[in-house]
Structure formats: structure tokens, C-alpha cells
Amino acid sequence: MLKAGPAKKVSIYVGEDHQHHGRSDYSAILDFLFYRGVSGASVMRGVAGFGADHHMHTTRIELLTGNLPMKIEFIESPEKVEELLPKLHEMVGTGLIEVQDTTVVKPSQASKKKAPQASIPSLRREGKAKLMRIFIGENDKWRDKPLHKALIESMRANDLAGVTVYQGILGYGANRRVHRETTLNLSHDRPMMLSVVDTEEKLRAYSPILDSMVQQGLVVLSDVDIVKYTHDYQEEERRKEVRQ
């Protein structure tokens, strides 16, 4: 947690329309900061502004213009800022990042914190890896949010290579209770399985976070060989064009 004394204040400027892997950049950055245990962050929307491209973004000219300036601000210890910057750099795209020295006079009060995670080299493209399967219930919550959604967000923020969520139709687990879907598919108590593939080190580094989030369920690890792990950059570019 943030202590009184010298700290860094980081301001990130992006456009409201900026995208990061198919979602708005500012919310991706905010999620990243949240799941990496930053002690606090705020997002502010500007009413007008311009950036490196000297294109005026304003609400006045066209009422419906979406691309207003967004500013994300957070204050953290210099070490933590140092640790987060490389990823932020990648996430802001054409945006701007500014770091200032600041002094925390009175830290805000909070009760919970999460262990910071060092960044670990990304998944090798082939060879041995581990497959982690997490069995939970659709009803499980983490801080009032569906656990499977929170897990995906936290895995993304911790740079795991990928995750897929499967919904089961019937099952039971540690608490012996049967989870099943009803005929009308309105049940919110189906079994869920998340499967994550990454290197053993990354999965092990992630497991304390997982541990704090999964209150009941089963987590198992097995060996897999990666045959192919690719990403279609052209496809991503096309999608970006469509959005603009």
C-alpha cells in the first residue's frame, strides 16, 4: 500500500476511442492497473483537447464526437511505477505518458492489497507448456463481480497467454452440490471451467492471485505441448480499420 513520502504520479493521455485488443484503451489500462495492485487510479474525461496529430477533439463541434481526451492518473511508489511502465507503454499506443515526482502527505486508507507481480517473459511459441484448468460455479463472485469474468480480467492484466471459459451443463464439486442448467437455460448455476495455457513459471507466478480469488473450486495443472500459437496481425489491423 502507498505510504506517506516521495512517490510518482503518472498521467496517461489517450483518446476515448483508442482501442486496445478490441476494447477501449482507458478501461483496459484501468483494469491493468487494478489487477496489478496499484493503490488507486482515476480516469477523467476532458471536454476538449488536441494531441500529437493536432486534430481538435471537442464536444462542441460535433455533439456526437466520441474521441474526447481521457486522462488516467495514479500515484504509486517509484519501484511499482518502474515495473508497470513497459506494459503501459505498449498499451497507450499513440497516447502520452507523463511521470512526476510527488509527495504523498496522507495516503488513503484501504484494507486490502494484492501482491505485485513481476513481469515474466511471454509464452514461447512452441514446446512444453502447462495447461491449467479451473473449475468453479457460474454463481461464484469476486468482489460482487462474476468470478469467471474477474479471473479473465486478472489473467489479462497479468499477461497470461490466453484463457477460454467453458460452461458445463451438469456437475458437482468440492461442496457436493449439483450444479445444473435448467430447461429454459435461465439457470445461473452452471459449472464453469476456465482453461489457461502458458509456461509453468507464469502460471506459478499467477497462482497466489488465483488463490486469493478462488474461494471454492478445483485447480489442476497438466503438461501440454504447444503445437501452434499465432496471432493474425493483419486481421487485427482490418478490425481496427472497420472501427475507425
Binding site: R133, G171, N175, Q216
Partner: protein, 115 residues
Amino acid sequence: MKLEGKAKMLRIHFGEDDKWKDKPLYRAIVEKCRELDIAGATVFRGVEGYGASTLIHRSHLLSFSPDAPIMVSVIDSEDKVRKLIPYLDEMVDEGLIAMSEVEVIKYVHQSGARS
């Protein structure tokens, strides 16, 4: 119940149409697992597939067709899983049963946390 360290995962693949004594086979398997006090079982419905019978199983647009591929995944210690196999052998007429090794990282439940 405790489960830790090395364990086995059994995956049983068959069709949603398959029956065991007039009840859906997947339900019968889950019930058998509970009877044998196996740590857990989960049934998944696939979108499309084919198998031993080389018939394409496909769940149709409105999911009125019942014959989607089904996978039941069961995890427990090797001896418990091995106890289940003879029953599966008898129940699964047409399908695939595969076993693999897994390492249990976590197996917990909160008593009374859920109604």
C-alpha cells in the same frame, strides 16, 4: 474430502442422445461418480464433433437437436478413478474414455458459503 498432488483426469466423450437405462448417459455417469464419492465431475456440451461412430454430432441453431457431443470430465486420485472405470466400461457403449495426469493446485470449498 482432500485431494492434492498428482491426480488423474478422466474424460469421457459420447453423444447427448446416449442413454443408460432410459436416462441420459451423462446424468447416469454423474450420479455414479457421486455414488462412488468421486471428488467432482463436470459435463460439457460441445458444439460440433464426430467420434467412434463417425457420425457428425452437431447442436442445431435453436438447440432443439439433442445430439450434441458431450464430454464428462472427472478428476480424482488414481485409485478412485480406476474404481470408476469398470462401471464406465459397462455404461458407455459407443464413445471414448481417456485418462491423463494432472497436478492438483487447489481443491477447496467453503462450508455454508452457498445455500
